[in-house]
Amino acid sequence: MWLWFHKLSSPPTAYAIAGKLRPWFLWPAIALFLWGAYAALFVVPPDYQQKDSARIMYVHVPASALSLGVYMSMAIAAAVGLIWRIKVAHALAASLAPIGVALTVLALFTGAVWGRPMWGTWWAWGDPRIVFTLLNLFLFLGYMMLRASFDDTQRADRMSAVLAIVGSVNVPIVKYSVDWWTSLHQSASILKIGTPSIDPSMRWPLLIMAIAYVCYIAAVACDRLRAEILRRERNASWLAAALPTK
């Protein structure tokens, strides 16, 4: 296992694997998104209370949940890079940050648009989940800005990794804020102990959309990781063999 881990952490192997995996994530992401969106918009019955506005949840919930997932992945990659001094792990963490920004912005936007007709407001400072999700966006942006502020890549890796690890404290806060404090958000209805409280007719399109988002994140991460490896390994001898000729 360690041999496999060591091999995967070499830039030429990671570069090649990311290039091969990208289409295997991208096309399923597009197909599943189209399928999931069609089901969410036209197949799923309207909610008895929220009516058609509940259809927003099919893009909002995966974006919100996976923005946290991306943050945790970024923090774990940064920790692996920091502890074992693996450059590819730092490159992966750097690749995930812009994806996290996009997902968090999407989560906040779709949440605000859903909140206007349902809660009567676009934004509620009193809701801990909204506020800590905004903090998550600032953590992603802070991570990217901190990286950009250093000319030395190794120093940028170390400093930004510390921020990513410290910031990961915010992830369980966002997740459990609905249980710990009074919140406009409902408590967990899918990932909870016991049977999910969401009706099966509404659950399967949500699952399809969640898988579509995961595939999309992986496809974008493959491109970003390859770009990051190329930037870091600009003087490496293996690049000559790895670069396709025009």
């Binding site: 991208l26 969106a37 259809r55 648009v113 007709p117 974008v220 491109d223 970003r224 600009r234």
Partner: protein
């Protein structure tokens, strides 16, 4: 068919599609830029 809150629903799906496309395009552009820079460096070093 969507009968209630249509503008809210469609705007969310529209923005989601836009963010997906933008994310893919930016990532691809970043990779292509690095690839052409690496190729340029390679050509320069081989011509030296």
């Amino acid at each position: 068919m969507i009968e209630t809150y249509a503008s809210f629903v469609w705007s969310c799906y529209g923005v989601t599609v836009a963010v997906w496309i933008l994310g893919l395009w930016l990532a691809r552009r970043s990779f292509n830029n690095e690839l052409s820079a690496a190729r340029r460096r390679q050509q320069m070093s081989s011509s030296d």
